[in-house]
């Protein structure tokens, strides 16, 4: 297995170098002007020249690429063009609020999705199954922006059950995070239930389930011990692949609910062409995605002895 991990990590290097090259080229073409961002609306020519030289904007692309690779390796992406804050500091400032939203939403959402999936699979064809399936399809069909706007308007503004917007550090965050977490769960649970239900249905029809029942095991034990264990591989794989997105945060949720996390930071950086932040976060996303894909493969083998990594 160690050989497999090393080999996969080795394959990841050219992938990440490619991502870095595309990121650099894309932002060099479509990005904004750091001079305007850093010097304001009326800089003198001398200031423009000095800053251009300092930022290496006239350097050939290959040199800029090498510099970008150095930044990736040293994890030093410089400072924000907008306010000169070190990108590293911006990351650490945002990661806490992002995780305080995404982790509970993901954990509770996954728990609900798995439980509901097993239940509806078990009661296949029942009213509960039909209502849940219909609700899941309906839920998937609606844009996430609608959930956010309607949730904010109905639950926070009309019914006054949550703050409309905001964040607090520490325990006070719960009040502000309750609504975005609820909406996140509603957003994700439909897709998850559809997927996990299919997985569970496949398992419930297998011989070992019939055997377990004929041995007199309770339905709960059959469902939550035997079936669940055998559903673990696809469930864990799916969850592992989602984890990088939990870290990089959600643009919409963070912006609309005022959560000062990585998603809202990236959104602001994109709209203000703050390329050091955009480049750093793009690479972070790519690295996490590659690493967690490798992890998913490894876990696949750990949970299913029939699978051998080679």
């Amino acid at each position: 297995m160690i050989g497999f991990i090393i080999r996969r990590l080795g394959y990841a290097i050219p992938v990440l170098m490619g991502v870095a090259l595309i990121t650099l080229l894309l932002f060099n073409v479509a990005g904004g002007d750091p001079i305007a961002i850093k010097l304001g609306k009326n800089p003198s020519q001398a200031e423009v020249l000095a800053l251009t030289a300092e930022l290496g904007l006239n350097d050939p692309v290959w040199r800029q690429y090498l510099d970008f690779l150095r930044q990736i390796v040293t994890l030093d992406f410089g400072t924000s063009w907008t306010d000169n804050t070190p990108v590293r500091e911006i990351f650490w400032r945002g990661v806490g609020p992002t995780l305080s939203l995404s982790l509970p939403a993901f954990s509770i959402g996954s728990l609900i999705a798995v439980t509901v999936s097993l239940l509806v699979a078990f009661y296949r064809g029942s009213m509960l199954d039909r209502v849940t399936t219909m609700a899941a399809i309906a839920g998937i069909s609606v844009s996430s922006l609608v959930y956010i706007l309607v949730g904010q308007w109905l639950l926070a503004d009309q019914w006054k059950l949550f703050p409309v917007w905001g964040f607090e550090y520490g325990i006070g965050a719960i009040t502000f995070l309750a609504l975005p977490i609820l909406i996140w769960i509603l957003l994700s649970v439909g897709t998850d239930v559809r997927y996990y239900r299919t997985v569970a249905l496949e398992e419930i029809g297998r011989d070992y389930v019939r055997t377990a029942r004929s041995k007199g095991l309770s339905e709960g034990r059959v469902l939550f011990v035997h079936v669940l264990r055998n559903c673990a591989v696809p469930i864990i794989t799916r969850m592992t692949i989602i984890i990088p997105f939990l870290i990089t945060g959600s643009f919409l949720m963070e912006i609309f609910f005022g959560i000062p996390g990585l998603g809202s930071t990236l959104y602001t950086a994109i709209t203000s062409s703050d390329l050091p932040i955009v480049k750093a976060f793009t690479m972070l996303g790519a690295v996490l995605y590659v690493l967690f894909n490798i992890l998913a493969d490894v876990l696949y083998a750990v949970f299913d002895p029939r699978i051998r990594l080679s």
């Binding site: 305007a36 961002i37 703050p163 062409s273």
Partner: protein, 639 residues
């Protein structure tokens, strides 16, 4: 599902739980960039820095037209006859706010040396002050000093030396234009008369701060302000909020009391008194215990927060303006709640910039045709939902130099397109066809941002141009991309706006002065000899009828030559809750919160009345879900 729903019922909609005292709640629509005065050139930074920092002068909180009053200066300056020397005497009672940057944590007295330091730091090349252009070439010896340091830094960089961003080489060197006469007297020596100079001394760029803070915090000075203003910062998260508390060291200043003190009167003060703005007359400032500003970038939460009473003041988002202020007056619902309106016509102009160096647009006839096809009335009614006034010229009404002269604004329905087509034909392009290619003319329109307003405008412009035979390619840019194109002169037509830095038409006229062409601020690259001469002539003239006449002439030249199509002057329909009183929105800076007061009891009563939770629907939903699950389990798989 049921426990989850139940846990949700316990939530509290109040975003300020446990808050004590008179704390003002404000929602900013933009993120601030910095507290550091030389970097404060955007709306967000201006709003947060103005509560902490002050300069020698300030805007009168109520008088209109705008009027300067002493802030940290004891009085208005003594100005020499040749208008080259401005001498300020400082107040005796100014002290910086307490801060760990001082040896014992206690703020010290402000002296003229602090102003010297702040002006030198502002002008230092390593500070990269965004407002340097205001002093560029204006003070004796300042440019030489700056250029010398700039050369030193370039040489050091070329030698491979890394220069820290907070390094201030040569800050101790003398500059003839900045003179400390004694601890309380500071003098500016100008290179030539500069009539706008006093306005610059009321801007955030020229605020005073202690060198100890810059040295103590280094780069982090941008997040740790230390000033003389009425508030000091207790918490700052640049992407979320800033919280202020009252600065105990704030000098003894009282709310203007024109009724008792005749020397505190201004034109129209009786009207302000009758409008209830002066109920706190004579009281010590500030009246609030603190301010909490949250950076709410999205429109919906900002609007919903205001409606719930959790924001005390709001410039309603465009999409909600027609709900809040239909037909320019408050809606019945808001009136019933006692909400008040503080409309303010922005000191600025939204315009379409035409690049006069572009081969096609260098033809003044083409520019005139484009302008004639532009429908101003439609723009105001539809694009700004009536919350704007038509910009007849580049200078807004109320600013000296405004003249109602607009030969190429037609706004007369179908006839304007006919007229535009005629002018276009006279310019050599009948029916919009280029005789050289036999094809329709095609222009690129650069739009900034993806807002509904921007998209709506692009569509309308495309439609207007098509009516006169010109095809339009719309290019959407981020703001930095846009500025890059403007600076490089790499565009044909662009949608832009200018907000005045100070209420003097020179501030916008400079955008059309030939020598300021790209990469300078003259993005249209307009270069008219008469205009340039008049601009140069007016630039050293004091405010008065003669200078106003020159401004009017320049404005007319612009209207005749159409380097810009002036579109609108936007109106901000500021809403304030009934419990907020006593201040007037200034617009050009944000120092007005020190005059604001809150009736705390009224706020608490209204907010709790407006925010009673409605739990029944969730309980019903939870019970239904539980019922469905229970029924399914009970009936088993036969169901």
């Amino acid at each position: 599902m049921f426990p989850l729903l139940l846990s949700l019922l316990a939530c509290n909609p109040d975003p300020y739980p446990g808050e004590q005292g008179k704390i003002l709640h404000v929602g900013l629509r933009l993120l601030p960039k910095s507290f550091d005065p030389p970097q404060v050139d955007d709306e967000g930074s201006g709003a947060i820095a103005s509560q902490v920092y002050e300069g020698l002068l300030a805007y009168h909180p109520y008088a209109r037209p705008y009027q300067l009053i002493p802030a940290l200066a004891a009085d208005l300056p003594e100005i020499s006859e040749d208008k080259l020397t401005y001498t300020f005497t400082l107040r005796e009672d100014i002290t910086f706010a307490d801060d760990p940057c001082f040896p014992d944590g206690e703020g010290r007295a402000v002296t003229a040396h602090d102003f010297l330091y702040a002006f030198k730091r502002f002008s230092h090349p390593n500070t990269r002050a965004r407002g340097w252009w205001l002093l560029d070439g204006k003070l004796v010896g300042l440019n030489d000093w700056r250029d010398g340091l700039s050369d030193q830094m370039t040489a050091a960089r070329e030698a491979g030396e890394e220069i820290p961003t907070d390094a201030l080489w040569g800050i101790e060197q003398d500059v003839a234009g900045l003179e400390v006469v004694d601890d309380r007297t500071f003098r500016f020596n100008l290179t030539e008369p500069y009539p706008q100079f006093l306005w610059t001394l009321a801007m955030s760029y020229t605020a005073v701060y202690p060198h100890e803070a810059v040295e103590h915090y280094g780069d982090e000075f941008r997040n740790n302000p230390v000033g003389t203003g009425p508030f000091k910062v207790t918490e700052f998260n640049p992407v979320y909020r800033v919280v202020y508390e009252k600065n105990d060291n704030f000098r003894d200043v009282t709310f203007p009391d024109p009724e008792r003190n005749s020397d505190e009167r201004w034109e129209g003060w009786e009207k302000d008194r009758d409008a209830g703005l002066l109920v706190d007359a004579g009281q010590k400032l500030p009246l609030l215990d603190g301010i909490e500003m949250r950076f709410i970038l999205e429109d919906q939460p900002r609007w919903l927060y205001f409606k719930s009473g959790y924001l005390d003041f709001l410039n309603p988002p465009k999409d909600n303006t027609s709900e809040a202020v239909p037909q320019g007056d408050l809606s019945g619902d808001l009136k019933e709640r006692g909400v008040r309106l503080q409309p303010w016509t922005e000191l600025g102009t939204v315009y379409t910039c035409l690049n006069t160096l572009d081969p096609l647009l260098s033809n003044v006839g083409v520019r005139k045709a484009i302008a004639l096809a532009f429908d101003h009335a439609w723009t105001v009614e539809n694009l700004y939902a009536g919350q704007a006034v038509v910009a007849n010229t580049l200078i807004p009404p109320g600013v000296a130099g405004y003249v109602d002269y607009h030969p190429f604004h037609a706004d007369d329905g179908a006839a304007q397109y006919e007229k535009a087509r005629q002018v276009l034909a006279e310019a050599g392009y009948p029916d919009g066809i280029d005789p050289a290619t036999g094809k329709s003319l095609r222009i690129r329109f650069e739009s900034s941002g993806t807002s509904v307003t921007a998209r709506h405008f692009s569509d309308r412009f495309t439609d207007e141009m098509r009516r006169i035979g010109i095809e339009v390619d719309v290019i959407v840019n981020t703001f930095p991309q846009m500025t890059e194109k403007m600076r490089g002169g790499n565009f044909q037509v662009a949608g832009l706006a200018w907000g005045f830095d100070y209420p003097d038409a020179q501030n916008i006229l400079q955008l059309l002065y030939g020598p300021n062409k790209a990469p300078g601020v003259n993005s249209s690259n307009f270069n008219d000899e008469t205009f340039n001469t008049l601009y140069e002539q007016s630039s050293t003239m004091e405010d008065g009828p003669e200078r106003t006449a020159l401004y009017e002439q320049m404005s007319q030249i612009v209207s005749d030559n159409v380097p810009w199509i002036t579109r609108a002057h936007r109106i901000r329909q500021n809403l304030q809750q009934p419990w907020l009183q006593g201040f007037r929105y200034t617009g050009v800076n944000d120092q007005y919160w020190r005059y604001a007061d809150i009736d705390l009891e009224a706020r608490q009563a209204s907010v709790s009345q407006w925010n009673t939770p409605v739990r029944a629907p969730l309980v019903v939903l939870g019970l239904l879900a539980m019922g469905l699950i229970g029924l399914t389990v009970y009936r088993g798989r036969e169901l």
